[in-house]
């Protein structure tokens, strides 16, 4: 398979390995990457972008491969696709110079998280006299006595809007890049529905029905289940915030809410889910066989997981201790982590969700087109 001269070093190495897979095809049934690979006759940069973002990093193809290092062919697809994926995040980032944040992303994420927390702590500290700071507060509006509503809403709104803008532009860049020279695509609604299914069930983390290689050459679906905990936990927290916003805005109910209220119940379940998911995934990162992983990127993975874990943990702690004198500080810490998370949405591994989803959509559209071509000819 001809390899394009215009590829980066990582893309060229990915193309070399993918050409071996294309001659082998043993992994065809493991995930969507291999059929997508066989639909292509050339490996352009956009093809690597698509395949790299389609890969769920399940390591199934590493443990199934007869050609892993030290074999002369040195195939280690999960590793090289991880590297290509990370390189693509930087390339799609907006504004472009901030793509640099993906280098040493672990440090970046940790720093911003620390800064977020520090900023809010200092802010809260300066705004309140010590006695005031450690006063126990209860009843509606208690949180806003610590941080004024306007500031909280303004900060949250501004950061969220920026993240949405940056990620939308990133999405457009991904879509244009992966569409260049790739196979034909077709369909709209049906492929989108199928892709939604792929995203919500993590179908490709099924190893073709037998499970993936989460830790070693044994098979399991633990990573898939942990990711579900984290993802649906996150979604519940998101739902909790949305409901809280509706309460506040339309029903005139002011936070904090009682334990048996929709926002708190949603947030609590979600928070626990996120802690189980992120905690489990962190544990897996360390016990897994390191050979198929990209060591360089471990920092970025770990940093984001830790951040998510801390957002959930401080949220739950705040719930437990909200009627004690520790509330003000805890609120500042929790919101500091949340602020950092939202600032980092476009510049951390978080973007994998966006590009993975789009890659799955493109994949479903390619499949629809090739089915169509087969049924015609």
């Amino acid at each position: 398979m001809p390899i394009n001269d215009l590829l980066t070093e990582i893309e060229a190495e990915a193309a070399r390995q993918l050409a071996i897979c294309n001659a082998c095809r043993y992994c065809e049934g493991l995930c969507a990457v291999f059929p997508a690979l066989q639909r292509r006759t050339l490996f352009e940069s956009g093809d690597i972008g698509q395949l790299a973002n389609l890969c769920h990093n399940c390591k199934g193809c590493y443990h199934a491969c007869q050609f892993i290092p030290p074999h002369a062919f040195a195939v280690n697809l999960p590793q090289i696709l991880s590297e290509a994926r990370f390189e693509s995040y930087a390339a799609y980032a907006w504004p472009r110079p901030l793509g640099r944040l993906f280098e040493n992303n672990g440090v970046v994420v940790s720093l911003i998280a620390a800064l977020g927390v520090a900023a809010l702590l200092i802010g809260v500290g300066l705004a309140h006299a010590p006695a005031d700071l450690f006063a126990a507060r209860t009843g509606p509006g208690a949180f806003y006595q610590v941080i004024p509503w306007g500031l909280m809403a303004g900060l949250a709104g501004g950061v969220t809007l920026f993240a949405v803008l940056a990620m939308t532009i990133g999405a457009f860049r991904f879509w244009r890049h992966t569409g260049e020279g790739g196979p034909a695509t077709a369909g709209a609604v049906r492929p989108a529905a199928l892709a939604a299914g792929d995203i919500l069930t993590l179908h490709n983390l099924g190893g073709g029905g037998r499970g993936c290689n989460d830790k070693d050459e044994g098979f399991s679906t633990l990573r898939r289940r942990l990711h579900h905990f984290m993802f649906y936990g996150f979604m519940l927290c998101f739902a909790s915030t949305t409901v809280a916003w509706i309460y506040d805005h339309f029903l005139g109910l002011v936070a904090p809410y009682p334990f048996f209220s929709a926002p708190v119940l949603l947030g609590t379940t979600g928070g626990i889910g996120m802690m189980i998911g992120t905690g489990g995934l962190l544990w897996l990162k360390f016990v897994t066989d390191q050979a198929p992983t990209a060591r360089r990127l471990l920092g970025a993975d770990v940093a984001l997981l830790l951040l998510l874990f801390l957002v959930a943990a401080t949220g739950l702690l705040l719930l437990c201790l909200r009627e004690t004198p520790a509330m003000a500080l805890l609120l500042a810490v929790h919101l500091g982590f949340v602020l950092a998370l939202f600032l980092l949405l476009p510049y951390s591994k978080f973007v994998h969700g966006l590009y993975r989803s789009l890659a799955l959509l493109r994949d479903r559209r390619e499949r629809a087109a090739s089915l169509h071509a087969h049924s015609k000819g």
């Binding site: 398979m1 001809p2 050409a19 071996i20 294309n22 001659a23 082998c24 095809r25 043993y26 992994c27 065809e28 049934g29 493991l30 066989q38 199934g60 193809c61 443990h63 199934a64 491969c65 007869q66 050609f67 892993i68 074999h71 002369a72 062919f73 190893g207 073709g208 029905g209 037998r210 050459e217 044994g218 098979f219």
Partner: protein, 446 residues
């Protein structure tokens, strides 16, 4: 593995001694993709039906009768029960891979290939309590009074001995033992590539033969195909195979053709080209074709060598430019028009050449021109120990050993005396593995 698991399931305690390090465990089986299974209706990913008689006829055809009907039918029938047994252990299958549709009725493809299949079996074995040691080469199995007394092996370089009630030999062929190949092929063997594991050195087979164990199968025979000459010496696996020969002409170092490239469909001629190339100077040949034919066959691991002219191509290959141009010109002049169709024995043939190309012959005239270098690639050897229907190994005097059983490549010469049927190697290993495991456990539990 099948033997070890079966024996353990039958209540025996089992130790597996593997020469390779852990990441290379599973020998040639890790390079496989499928096994051939008899079935009366759709099973797993198999379509249609494949009955015992058809299976047997296919085997008879490829082996030209060099088989043991009784043992062969045991392997064929045993493939029915083997599938649900494998599935219970956690094995899964995938639809036949692209480019192999013709096998979707007869062959079950392992999900993720042979290595993934073996990983499932190793995991099952470990779950059941089979003990596995790696980096340990079996050196000798001394036979006394019709039984194996012990196993002498090296464990990470240190000598060790283990005594058991029964023993199973499943050490593959001897194709990676170049000195042994040389005894049959002479210096030519130095230029062979071994497609599978470098641990198939036949040490167990040799030791048993030296102690009077009977053998079956052609002692000098091996399954040899033409693979890409740029392949590594060992373990190149499936990706070094080339399917371009029927759409090309094949020349040797003198830039001369030496066999009808279009004699028959590729799967039927695949396995003669190893020997054909082995008989050429330096055991090298080159498959030459033009832009029309690129894309007619499965891609292989290395890109084709490309040049805008034939003389340029010859330069890159180290062949004499004039000789190659002449060979191609003579061939082109002899090509008669026809309607090219790779799916049938078409009417594209040469006329008037001393060595014709009888199908799929088209002029080589559309640049760029391409070449793949060829070398013999050895898949496996035929000769193995003689066994009976209980997988018990026989001595030269016709009597079975009391406590030694065998399965896989080390005994498949009983059934595959010559030729090869895709997926039958794994079928023999699986079915006789289960028989050997049961036999060994029964003997041990007595």
């Amino acid at each position: 593995m099948c033997a070890a698991i079966t024996a353990r399931q039958a209540g025996a305690s089992v130790l597996v001694i593997e020469h390779a390090p852990k990441y290379l465990r599973g020998g040639n089986s890790r390079h496989t993709r499928n096994l051939r299974a008899m079935h009366s209706g759709p099973v797993e990913t198999l379509v249609g039906a494949y009955d015992e008689e058809e299976y047997w006829r296919d085997l008879l055809f490829v082996t030209k009768g060099k088989t043991n009907e009784h043992l062969a039918r045991i392997a064929i029938r045993g493939s029915i029960d083997a599938i649900p047994w494998l599935v219970r252990l956690g094995c899964r299958f995938q639809p036949s891979l692209t480019g192999t549709l013709s096998l979707s009725r007869t062959n079950l493809f392992f999900l993720g290939g042979g290595k993934a299949h073996l990983n499932v079996l190793y995991a099952a074995a470990q779950r059941l309590g089979v003990e596995l040691i790696y980096d340990s080469e079996v050196r000798e199995m001394p036979i006394e009074n019709g039984r194996v007394r012990e196993i002498r092996f090296s464990h990470r370089g240190f000598p060790a001995t283990v005594k058991a009630k029964s023993y199973i030999a499943a050490a593959g062929g001897f194709q990676a033992n170049i000195d042994w190949l040389k005894a049959n092929w002479g210096a030519r063997a130095d230029n062979f590539c071994i497609r599978g594991t470098e641990y198939a050195r036949g040490r167990v087979l040799r030791n048993l033969m030296d102690q009077g164990v009977a053998t079956e199968g052609d002692p000098s025979g091996c399954h040899a195909v033409a693979i890409d000459a740029r392949s590594p010496r060992f373990d190149g696996g499936i990706v070094t195979r080339l399917d371009c020969i029927p759409f090309s002409i094949v020349v040797n170092r003198e830039a001369k053709r030496f066999y009808d490239e279009g004699e028959d469909f590729w799967p039927k001629r695949y396995a003669i080209w190893g020997k054909l190339v082995a008989d050429q100077p330096d055991q090298m040949a080159w498959s030459i074709f033009d832009a029309k034919s690129l894309g007619l066959f499965m891609p292989s691991v290395f890109p084709a060598i490309e040049a805008p002219t034939l003389a340029g191509l010859a330069g890159k290959l180290g062949l004499d430019a004039e000789a190659l141009t002449t060979t191609v010109a003579e061939y082109n002049a002899a090509v008669r028009p026809g309607s090219f169709d790779p799916t049938i024995h078409d009417d594209c043939a040469t006329h008037g050449l001393a060595l014709p190309k009888t199908h799929w012959a088209r002029r080589i005239d559309q640049p760029p021109f391409y070449a793949y270098p060829l070398r013999p690639g050895i898949t496996f050897t035929y000769m193995g120990v003689k066994v009976d229907e209980n997988a018990a190994v026989h001595l030269g005097n016709g009597r079975p050993l009391d406590n030694l059983f065998a399965t896989g490549e080390i005994m498949s010469g009983n059934i595959l005396g010559e030729g090869y049927l895709a997926g039958f190697g794994m079928t023999i290993g699986t079915v006789f593995g289960r028989i050997a495991g049961r036999g060994a456990a029964r003997h041990a539990n007595q």
